[in-house]
Assembly symmetry: none
Homo-oligomer: 211 residues x 4
């Protein structure tokens, strides 16, 4: 029994060590991909950044491509957490809060999201597996959200399909220069101001009204 316990214990340590190293490689790869793009990055550079030998990469991943897919997968789960809440939006305040939170999540793992965004343009598998579904889901939820509110007489009778696209545009655009490294990540304050302004624009547009 003692032996088994010992083995289990050391087995657990081993598992954790493996997991840690896998993670280290993944993060290293994401950093290099974010700097130089997937195609321009060599396995040697990933290995150096992770401080392991090139061959070691192949003990944890099937190859360079699989590291990319693992990054996409990782990013996916982070994003999913936020997306799940889209359906729970009830009030204007909910939307502001979620917008701020989404922005924060995107930015918190910048190398991962940047890598994903750059590859999506270029890699059909990543597009299909890690993007289309996801965005279609948000898009549908936005549409439902809008439709419901139109029916409830809260929103004007806008086209829900077009409008949901545009709302997504409003939320996504400011992220892009940050992902691209042109702007530095916004502070908490900036994120709030942005979320507030976004919802304000969506709700009321820019025009003065007399009510």
């Amino acid at each position: 029994v003692a032996q088994t316990t010992n083995r289990n214990r050391s087995e657990g340590r081993r598992q954790r060590r493996i997991e840690r190293r896998r993670r280290r490689i993944l993060e290293a790869a994401a950093r290099v991909f974010a700097r130089k793009s997937y195609a321009q990055t060599t396995t040697k550079e990933i290995a150096d950044e992770a401080d392991v030998a090139e061959g070691t990469l192949y003990n944890y991943f099937g190859g360079k491509r699989e590291i990319l897919l693992a990054i996409a997968s990782e990013t996916q789960s982070v994003i999913d957490a936020v997306l799940g809440e889209v359906s729970t939006i009830q009030s204007r305040e909910d939307m502001v809060a979620l917008a701020e939170k989404g922005l924060q999540v995107f930015i918190s793992e910048l190398p991962f999201t940047r890598t994903l965004f750059a590859e999506v343009w270029v890699d059909d598998v990543i597009l299909q597996e890690f993007f289309i579904d996801r965005f279609q889901r948000i898009w549908q939820q936005l549409q439902r959200f809008i439709t419901e509110r139109i029916e409830a007489g809260i929103f004007r009778p806008v086209d829900p399909v077009l409008t949901s696209s545009m709302v997504m545009g409003i939320f996504v655009i400011p992220i892009i220069p940050v992902l691209r490294g042109v702007n530095s990540p916004p502070t908490l304050e900036e994120r709030c101001a942005w979320a507030e302004a976004a919802v304000d624009l969506i709700w009321d547009g820019v025009r003065v009204r007399k009510d």
Copy 2:
């Protein structure tokens, strides 16, 4: 005199043939880049698509990279034509018209714009030379546009910086799935509906009002 005329004439023919072939290579390259991304494309593939020998590419361009830059440059001039009109927007109708036109331009040279958009994520030179300036200019013009209208009491006192970003988001987002090949290009009718809806959202938001 006759000789000179002859020479001039054949010289002109030669110039035109060269220009035509340069263009053929450029378009072939853009098509392949759009399908497979710059990094995944070989010079052989470009040559095959243009139906010339590999070596011929190098009679017209300094190398693979220069073909990419030429594509970017080409795209730039097409886009610039539209951007120039941003400053002339006066009325709501102007904005709708320009939005429709912009969408059309982007789509008319799909392989070129798609290549440019994919590379901008990954190539710092292209980012700087063909993007930053351009978008900053639009962005400033939008800001000025908004600020002027706020001062004139036409628009509510929204934050011009944030709002101009978001307006750009509204206009840019629907292009992306088309560029990426997920959606097929919109018809004229769809473009108009979209432009109309975009300006409508920007002007009045989604909320019902009682005026």
Copy 3:
């Protein structure tokens, strides 16, 4: 401690294996260069001659050119060993001995010296880095040697500058057809006869005298 020792030992083995292989590539390259000249030799041929893959060359050298420079460098150190002794010449016998030895050294690494001699005509870097200095040094020592002996009344008052050039010619010329592969390398006996004859000519010329 045992572990460290083991590691050190295997580390040493590894170092030696690497050094051996580097040397093998260098010698293979020198052989091919000597046969076909640097410019006519392909990296594939070098790799085949060294019995390694083409890519392996690049684990040991920065490229084809660096292999050439390494050969020049190698040859340099061999030659330098002989040149160092030029200044120690005192007697006629010293000169004979050194001439014989120099000839032997040149011939012992024929592929290296042949490669170097062929490239010097064509490659300015090699000319500067591996030739000019070296030959100027010998030349100066020869001049000094001659001047001293003139002052001591042992030599006639010949022009030391011109004479040292010619002495070098006497010593260098017979090497050339061997380097070029026209003559086969001289035996020890032939080398001695040649060295003796060279010094004899330099000392006394061809003319009969009546002393």
Copy 4:
């Protein structure tokens, strides 16, 4: 008759024009080869230097290689003129004069001779066709010259084979730095001093004697 004459006349003009152009190409090629070596020179560079189109080269020569061989051939005839006189040497003065003249010839067509010397190391055809014969002939004549004088009691009983080699070394060596572009060509005065010193060394060596 008049027609034939006319045709002959214009035919002659044509021949001369062709010959002139052939020569221009040859000289241009020699200059570029001398600067960059045969292997490093492109046909485009030759064409540019000769101020003709690339295709024109092929109207006058079979290809790049044939231009080189033509240069070798050209050089040959120049050198041959000098070599023919070697057999006519009778006196010490003859030898001095011929040495001076030989040096001058070598230098007068520097690009040609330099090209030839650089290629001889590397090109077996040039070695065989334009070098071996020629130098063997001089060598034999020198041997005969020496042997005759030994038999006549004018020269000491040196080894004619070795000595003739060395005499060639004495005469050839000072040319090399000039051919290689390290030294600038000697003036007439320098050439005479060198020729005089060379013969002096060969005749009497360096040693003081008491006769």
